[in-house]
Symmetry: C2
Subunit: 190 residues, 2 copies
DNA sequence: CTTAAAAATTGATGTAGATCAATTCATTGC
DNA sequence: GCAATGAATTGATCTACATCAATTTTTAAG
């Protein structure tokens, strides 16, 4: 069942079968329908989610009512309002299913317990957050440096599994441009 | 001498005097003149730097020869090409002193040794990178959401110690706008 | 103090991408 | 299979900020 997740862990740390079992035992399995909200602004965020199946987005709704997508997540990705999760602040983001989805949830306090018992997991999540940091750094470099067309092409290259699966207006939103502009970019104008 | 740094550590972890000494013992002290390069593209990056005194910037030079500043660092900040440092890739960034500076360097392999001996330090750097991740997330949210004027005002609010100390054209570059535009923003136009 | 170099400002003009308003195309539920 | 709703496209116009070209102000070095 969770071979996928064990393989995911093994990319960064080596676990004994017992440790693997211990990790699996602290996860909870959930299924959600499309449009379900896993997180809403104001809520306490005690969980982060590993996607077994489906597709989700994390977005911010600004004062003017504009959505801004910060992250997508499909199979084998983690998603949450990480700011809120890490700092025990109220959520600022929505996390919503774009497709019917199946996820495993990991509770913060249970995880912190685990860190003390098996420091290897602290290492795992340090490495994970480090990669996320690098990805964001590169995203900022892109926005500073590249025009929208290049950013779109790089997005398609970097996330070939999202292109086609996620609506174009979502991608446009993620890239910080309008659906109209993205349409023209895809037509080869600009 | 390094009270500042010990205080910095104590914000996130509690150390015994022995552990504090052990940490200090693995650091190296350096002084650099303004314009010195601590890191250049292509180099191996084995160190991250804690700023005791002075001011530095980390920037990327794109194919068109344009600079893009990703980070400033003043007293009590860490700086490096973190992508290269974490992933043992060749540097993509320059790290350069904007002022004469005094830094402590921390070597990656020595640090990883330390993680095994004292897992508390793995925790410390996990928390550090987590905060850096959150800061980047908020920076992306800003660029998606806010006009240049708002971004500039927020920059001044968030880094009151940098505003005034760092040249405006550096700040403009960091924000991804031209010095001309920043000048007009500061004049109240736009 | 003087001069050169670096930084900031100002004005005129250009442009990528936004916005607004239809229109067409695709998907979903009945 | 047909509305109805959601998504994508197209065209006309607008705007925040870029670019280019001087000019002025500030800083630093001899």
């Amino acid at each position: 069942m969770y071979i996928q997740l064990l393989k995911h862990l093994s990319k960064d740390i080596e676990l004994t079968p017992d440790e693997e079992q211990e990790f699996l035992s602290i996860l909870e399995h959930h299924t959600f329908l499309k449009k379900s909200l896993l997180i809403q602004p104001g809520q306490k965020v005690t969980k982060e989610y590993y996607v077994l199946k489906g597709c989700l987005k994390a977005y911010y709704l600004d004062k003017a009512g504009q959505k801004h997508i910060l992250q997508f997540a499909i199979e084998d990705w983690w998603i949450s309002d990480f700011e809120a999760f890490f700092n025990a602040h109220p959520a600022q983001l929505y996390v919503e299913c774009i497709e019917d989805s199946e996820v495993l949830s990991l509770d913060k306090s249970v995880l912190e317990d685990l860190y003390f018992r098996i420091p290897k997991f602290e290492r795992f999540f340090r490495l994970k957050i480090t990669k996320a940091f690098v990805a964001l750094r590169n995203r900022i470099l892109s926005t500073l440096q590249k025009d929208s067309k290049t950013q779109y092409l790089e997005f398609c290259e970097q996330y070939p599994n999202l292109q086609g699966r996620v609506a174009n207006y979502h991608i446009a939103n993620y890239l910080g441009i309008t659906p109209e502009s993205l349409s023209r970019i895809r037509k080869g104008l600009y």
